[in-house]
C-alpha cells in the first residue's frame, strides 16, 4: 500500500467522521434521525440519490464488464437509469405524499393493519440485508486488492464506519456522506474519462475503431450477446434492472428527506442527470481499460473485472491517480452501506418496534434510542454474515435483492396507489408471493448450483435454469396481489381508498418535520 493511498483513505474517513460530528447536533428526534427532518433541497437530495444508488458495483463492476464483454456490460447502465423514469412517473410523488419514514408507512396509509406493516418491514429487511452482505463482501475483496488490507479487518473497518455514521448522525450524516461520495465519484470518473478521450484525440469514431482491434473479442466487442446467449435470461435481467430500482427501500426512503412531492419529483430528475452522466462515462472507462490496460491484465488482477477502473487509473496517471480512484471506490462503498443500515434500522425500530409492538405509543426520545440500538443490531448481523460469506460467490445477492424489490415491493406499491379494489389480504399475499418466489427460484438456479465444484455455493445441477427469475416473479407478485384481493371475503375499504387517492394527488396532510 502506498503512503499516498493511506493518506487519502484516512482523509475520507476524517471527512466522513467530521460530517457525522456536525450532523449529530441535528439528530435529536425521530424525524431528524429517519429523514434528516425532511429539510433537504432538490439538488441535495438528487445528489444523495445518485450517491445512494451508484454502488461500487456500478463504478468498478460496470467498467469491468464493459472492458471484458463489451456492449453486454452496458445493459446495467441503461436499465439502472431508465428505472428512474418508473420511479418518477409512478412512485415518487404518491410515496412522498402518503409516507412518513418508511415504505411500510406508505402501504399502511391505506391498510391500517399490523400484518401488512410487518410483511412490508420484512421485505425491507430482507432486501437491504442481502444487498448489504453483497456490498460488504465486495468491499472486503476490493480493499484487499487496492490497499493490501486483509478481508476481515477491511470488512470490520467499513462495518464500524457505517455504524458510526448512522447511530450518531442518522439520515443527515448518511445524506451528506452520499452527497460527498457522489461529487467525488463524478469528479474522479470525469478526470479518467477526459484522459481516455484525450488519448483518442477527442474523436469518438476513432475510439470505436480502435476498440474493435484492441480486445480478444475483436469486432464482436461492440455487439450485444457476448455474455447473454439466452434471450429470455437477458430480458429477465433487464426487467429486474428497470423495475427493481423503483422498489428498493433504501432508495425510496430518500424521498422522505424532502419537504413535498414537488421537491421529490425534482430530486429524481436531478439524480437522472448525475447518474446518466456517470453511466455515459462508464463507456469511456470500460473502453479505456480494454484498450490501455488490456484484457489479460484486467482478468489477472480480478477475474470479475473489478480492477479495470483502478488499473486504468494506474496506467494513465501512475500511483497518484490509482490512489485517488481507490479512495473514491472506498467512499462509494461507505455511502451505500450506511444508507442500507439506516433503512434496515428504520424497518426494525419504527415499523416493527414502534408501530407493531408499541402501537405507536412511543416517545421521541425512545424512538431515537431504539433506532440506534436497531442500527447496531442490523450492522452486526450483516458484518457477521459477510465474514462467513468470504469464500462464497455472493454477487448474485444484489441480483436477488433487485429481483425481490421488483417482485415483492413494486406490484404492491402500485396496487396500493392505483387500484381501487385492492385490499389488505391482497397486499399481504402480493408481498409474500413476490418474496418467496424470488428467493426460491434463485436458490434453485445456477447462481447457487453448479456441477463444477467451487463455482457456486453448492455442487450439483440447478433445477431452475435461468440466472434471473424476474420475468416470472414480477407477474407472480401481481397475481398474488390480485388473487389475494378477489378471493378474500374482506371488502375493499372505499373510503380509505378515496382518502389515499385524494392525499396522493394533492399532498393534503403530508407528514413533515413540523408536526
Amino acid at each position: 500500500m502506498s503512503s499516498l493511498a493511506l493518506v487519502l483513505f484516512l482523509a475520507i474517513i476524517f471527512l466522513t467522521l467530521t460530517i457525522t460530528y456536525l450532523s449529530a447536533k441535528k439528530t435529536k428526534n425521530a424525524s431528524e434521525f429517519y429523514t434528516a427532518g425532511g429539510g433537504l433541497t432538490a439538488w441535495q437530495n438528487g445528489l444523495a440519490v445518485a450517491g445512494d444508488f451508484m454502488s461500487a458495483a456500478s463504478f468498478l463492476g460496470i467498467t469491468g464488464a464493459i472492458a471484458l464483454i463489451g456492449f453486454d456490460g452496458f445493459y446495467m447502465s441503461i436499465g439502472n437509469l431508465v428505472a428512474f423514469l418508473f420511479l418518477l412517473y409512478l412512485v415518487s410523488e404518491p410515496l412522498r405524499n402518503l409516507g412518513k419514514y418508511t415504505v411500510a408507512d406508505m402501504i399502511t396509509a391505506r391498510f391500517h393493519s399490523k400484518k401488512v406493516r410487518g410483511v412490508a418491514a420484512l421485505n425491507t429487511l430482507v432486501i437491504s440485508i442481502f444487498y448489504m452482505i453483497a456490498q460488504l463482501v465486495g468491499a472486503g475483496g476490493l480493499i484487499k486488492l487496492l490497499l493490501g488490507i486483509d478481508f476481515v479487518p477491511a470488512v470490520l473497518i467499513v462495518g464500524t464506519l457505517m455504524t458510526i455514521y448512522v447511530i450518531f448522525g442518522g439520515m443527515t450524516a448518511t445524506s451528506w456522506v452520499q452527497i460527498t461520495k457522489a461529487v467525488l465519484l463524478m469528479a474522479g470518473s470525469f478526470v479518467l474519462t477526459f484522459i481516455v478521450f484525450a488519448k483518442f484525440n477527442f474523436n469518438v469514431m476513432a475510439m470505436f475503431e480502435h476498440i474493435k482491434a484492441a480486445t480478444p473479442l475483436k469486432d464482436a466487442f461492440l455487439d450485444p450477446g457476448n455474455k447473454y446467449k439466452n434471450g429470455l435470461d437477458m430480458i429477465s435481467f433487464n426487467l429486474s434492472l428497470v423495475l427493481g430500482a423503483a422498489g428498493l427501500p433504501h432508495l425510496l426512503v430518500r424521498f422522505f428527506t424532502v419537504k413535498d412531492a414537488t421537491t421529490a419529483r425534482k430530486s429524481v430528475v436531478y439524480s437522472t442527470w448525475f447518474i446518466g452522466a456517470f453511466f455515459i462515462m462508464t463507456i469511456f472507462l470500460g473502453f479505456g481499460a480494454a484498450a490501455f490496460v488490456g484484457f489479460n491484465n484486467i482478468v489477472a488482477a480480478n477475474p470479475g473485472g473489478n480492477m479495470a477502473a483502478p488499473l486504468l487509473a494506474q496506467t494513465l496517471g501512475g500511483d497518484i491517480l490509482f490512489a485517488i480512484v481507490s479512495a473514491v471506490a472506498f467512499a462509494t462503498i461507505l455511502a451505500v452501506v450506511s444508507g442500507l443500515v439506516l433503512t434496515s434500522a428504520s424497518a426494525v425500530a419504527h415499523d416493527i418496534y414502534g408501530e407493531i409492538i408499541r402501537d405507536g405509543k412511543i416517545t421521541e426520545k425512545q424512538q431515537v434510542r431504539v433506532a440506534r440500538i436497531a442500527s447496531i443490531m442490523v450492522a452486526l448481523i450483516s458484518i457477521i454474515l459477510a465474514l462467513f460469506s468470504q469464500k462464497l460467490n455472493v454477487a448474485f445477492l444484489s441480483v436477488l435483492a433487485l429481483g425481490i424489490a421488483a417482485s415483492a415491493n413494486l406490484p404492491v406499491i402500485l396496487c396500493t396507489i392505483y387500484w381501487k379494489r385492492f385490499n389488505m389480504t391482497g397486499a399481504i399475499t402480493g408481498m409474500l408471493v413476490g418474496l418467496l418466489s424470488s428467493v426460491i427460484l434463485v436458490l434453485l438456479s445456477p447462481n447457487v448450483w453448479n456441477p463444477v465444484p467451487g463455482a457456486a455455493i453448492f455442487t450439483g445441477d440447478p433445477i431452475f435454469h435461468m440466472d434471473n427469475p424476474t420475468i416470472f416473479t414480477v407477474p407472480l407478485g401481481f397475481i398474488g396481489a390480485y388473487l389475494g384481493t378477489i378471493l378474500s371475503t374482506k371488502k375493499a375499504d372505499e373510503e380509505k381508498f378515496a382518502e389515499v387517492l385524494f392525499k396522493s394527488n394533492t399532498g393534503y396532510g403530508i407528514s413533515t418535520a413540523k408536526e
Binding site: L85, Y89, G225, K496
Partner: protein
Amino acid sequence: MEIMKNEKYDKPLKKKQGSLYTTLIQTGDFQELIQKKKEFIIPMSIFFFVFYFTLPILAAYTDILTKQAMGHITWAWVYALMQFVLVWVCGYVYVKKSEKFDISAKEILSAYEGELDK
C-alpha cells in the same frame, strides 16, 4: 381475515371524514385532475417501457443492432444512447407537465379548505 384489534388501528374513521374524502374525489375539479394525469402518465409509461425493452428484444432475436450506424459505431450503441436521451427528455416533460397539476391541486385544496379543516 381477522385483524388484531387495538385502539390506534382499525379505529372506524369518523364517518364525516370518511365520507368527506369520498365526496371530494367525486368533485368535478378533482376528477378532471385525475383524468388529465391518467391521460399523461399511462401512455408515457407504456411508451418508455416498450422503448426500453425493444433494445434487449432486438439484441436477442435479430442482428439489426450489429449493423454500423455511423462509421464504426453500431446501432446497439446508438439505441443505448437514445435511452439516455429518453430519460432526460421524459424527466423534463414530466416536471413541466406536473407544474400544471400542482396548480390544480392547490386550487382544489383551497376550494375545500373549509371542509377539510373541520
